[in-house]
């Protein structure tokens, strides 16, 4: 079991009032699964993603990653988790505008303490993997939306993490580019990566192999996607 979540609850403090966002979720994800987590806004899917990505902590319950209890880790250990095990892909790419493509991709390796030459080599390989070897020295502003998202995917891949966490990865892209990105995800999945996709679009969720539907902070449905979209 790669991810095991037991009775997870998350409350937010709004003034003096605790607002429950996630009401107790149990969830298991195996290695090399391709999961889409769906739900309307306010369903708690973003919160769940933050917790899965070690950006946020739980209020109660347990989160095991590779049999390790993440919910007890301190801030530094969570940072190391994000660095080694999580590859984030965001809707708005979240690239650093002042750095060029390769520098952006190198960023996780910088924090991992990887020496410069090795860093460059790994980053180039990751950029090559997403088909951007000819855009290495371009800054994000000089790249198209699809290319930017590819840089972000290369950055997520570069540390060879346990999971790729994609939050509405096609949300800011036109549909044609979106399909290209989804094809890339499919390939990455075939290569053995575990992918968790957060989306509110059924169309995007259809690319995944398993669909989890959240509603009001609880799992409403969790089923294998039988009529999966195949990209030709």
């Amino acid at each position: 079991m790669l991810i095991e979540i037991k009775d997870l609850k998350k409350n937010y403090l709004l003034g003096d009032v605790e607002i429950p966002v996630i009401h107790g979720i149990n969830l298991n994800i195996e290695k090399n699964e391709y999961v889409a987590i769906m739900g309307p806004s306010g369903s708690g899917k973003s919160t769940l993603m933050n917790i899965l990505g070690c950006l946020d902590t739980v209020s109660s319950g347990n989160y095991y990653f590779n049999e390790m209890d993440v919910s007890t880790l301190d801030d530094d250990a969570l940072s190391i988790m994000r660095n080694k095990e999580i590859g984030f892909i965001f809707q708005n790419f979240n690239l650093l505008p002042r750095l060029n493509a390769i520098q952006n991709v190198e960023l996780p390796l910088v924090y991992a303490g990887t020496p410069g030459a090795e860093r460059k080599e790994k980053a180039l390989r990751a950029l090559n993997r997403v088909g951007l070897s000819d855009r290495v020295n371009h800054k994000p502003a000089e790249l198209s939306g699809g290319q930017r998202q590819r840089v972000a995917i290369a950055r997520a891949l570069v540390t060879n993490p346990g999971i790729l966490l994609a939050d509405e990865p096609t949300g800011a892209l036109d549909s044609k580019t979106g399909v290209e990105i989804m094809r890339l995800f499919e390939e990455l999945h075939t290569e053995g990566n575990t992918i968790i996709l957060i989306t509110h679009e059924q169309e995007i969720a259809n690319y995944a192999h398993r669909n989890i539907y959240l509603k009001d902070g609880m799992i409403h449905s969790d089923k294998i996607n039988s009529d999966k979209t195949i990209i030709f």
């Binding site: 933050n50 990505g53 950006l55 946020d56 801030d75 530094d76 940072s79 190391i80 994000r82 660095n83 080694k84 984030f88 965001f90 979240n94 690239l95 650093l96 002042r98 960023l107 996780p108 910088v110 924090y111 991992a112 303490g113 950055r155 540390t159």
Partner: protein, 412 residues
């Protein structure tokens, strides 16, 4: 996160926003420049003072005849004082402990003539010890020696100014100059002395380069005194073995002379080293004030950095979130921002040091204030700017590190 990476990042940040960085640094630049300039002015004044007193000898006590009007002189003589005499010197050297050497000197203001030229000069009768006691350096020939003194030879050593006035392109050694009705052979020329521009006690400011030195034995024997009532000699210089007994020795000297001069107050005692110490003390207060002003400007510079850094952290919340999401720990973010403020302050510090050096040079060139930049003051100003960078960068950096990753990554 490697340290070099932080520095590279910070430098890139600097060059990306050149004008803003410059404005941020301005406070540090002014602060450091003013520290350097003020310290260099203080140091210049100190060196000037030391040079001045070194001419008088730091182990010396100088006993000088007081300048008295004719009436006062008559009154003193009527009260039995003969003024300073060789005998006084003799007694001092016998009684005062720790005396290394003692030199008597007689003076007379008169004209020196060579061919048809004439220069107003002070003729100084001295003993051979005088040269080493007063740090006089010979430029040509040699100084008056024991043989000259013992045999009362008619020789003289010219101050640089006199030699320059008489002998243009001519070798002065061996030439005869006339003082009063005496012909003296020039045996040496002194190196130029800095102008003695400040009166120290009874030592009136004058141009030492117009002095002409002759053996004291000759002087007393061959030259008439300026005035019938004039003392035998005008100055006794007592050199002690070391400088820590100067005050005690001067008290003993004072008592001896009091008795020998029948309680007449016709001499004064100057201790150059004590005057130097006193002057130093006065200057210290002054330097402290200057330093405080400079320190305040550095402080203001530091606050300027903090202000900009706080704004920068706000502006870069998203960047911090991104860095955190790919694995930056709090300490990484912290050190990134501290490094940035240190790089700003160090760069400002370097520019400030250069500005300070230029300012000091300008001060020296365009005013008569001496400046001297000690490596120590550069080091001090520079380390101050680093300290300012670290301490004023700390709070903004801490704010940056404490941003919650989940909030900052979604910050718009």
């Amino acid at each position: 996160m490697q340290y070099g990476e932080n520095v590279r990042l910070a430098l890139q940040g600097l060059t990306d926003h050149k004008f803003r960085s410059f404005l941020t640094m301005l406070g540090i630049i002014f602060g450091v420049a003013s520290v350097i300039t003020m310290l260099s002015i203080g140091e210049g004044a100190k060196r000037e003072a030391i040079a001045k007193y070194q001419d008088l000898g730091v182990n010396n006590i100088i006993i000088r005849e007081k300048t008295l009007s004719d009436e006062e002189l008559e009154e003193v003589r009527a009260k039995f004082s003969q003024g300073l005499s060789i005998q006084d010197a003799q007694v001092i050297s016998e009684i005062v402990p720790g005396v290394e050497r003692i030199a008597s000197q007689a003076e007379k203001n008169t004209d020196v003539k060579y061919n048809d030229k004439s220069i107003k000069s002070t003729i100084v009768g001295i003993t051979p010890d005088f040269q080493s006691m007063m740090n006089y350096k010979v430029q040509k020939g040699y100084f008056i020696n024991d043989k000259h003194y013992n045999e009362r030879l008619k020789v003289c050593v010219l101050g640089a100014g006199v030699a320059a006035g008489f002998f243009k392109g001519e070798d002065p050694i061996g030439k005869l100059v006339k003082i009063d009705d005496q012909w003296l052979e020039v045996v040496g020329v002194l190196e130029s002395k800095s102008l003695f521009t400040e009166t120290v006690g009874e030592l009136a400011a004058r141009d030492l380069n117009t002095d002409v030195f002759v053996p004291l034995s000759l002087f007393l024997n061959r030259f008439t005194r300026e005035n019938v009532l004039s003392s035998e000699i005008q100055q006794i210089t007592v050199q002690l073995k070391n400088s820590d007994k100067l005050v005690e020795a001067s008290k003993i000297i004072n008592e001896i002379l009091r008795r020998h001069h029948f309680n007449n107050d016709d001499y004064s005692i100057v201790i150059p080293y004590e005057l130097l110490k006193q002057e130093e003390k006065e200057r210290q207060i002054y330097n402290f004030l200057l330093g405080a002003i400079a320190a305040i400007s550095l402080l203001v510079g530091g606050i300027g950095i903090m202000n900009i850094m706080l704004a920068t952290v706000m502006e870069r919340t998203r960047e911090i979130g991104i860095r955190r999401s790919v694995g930056a720990r709090k300490i990484d973010i912290m050190s990134q921002f501290v490094t940035e403020s240190v790089v700003i302050s160090i760069t400002g510090g370097i520019i400030g040091v250069l500005t300070g050096i230029v300012l000091s040079l300008i001060v020296t060139l365009f005013t008569d204030i001496n400046t001297f930049i000690k490596p120590y003051s550069v080091f001090l100003a520079f380390s101050f700017s680093v300290i300012v960078g670290v301490s004023f960068g700390y709070l903004p950096a801490k704010n940056a590190a404490n941003l919650k990753p989940v909030d900052s990554i979604r910050y718009e």
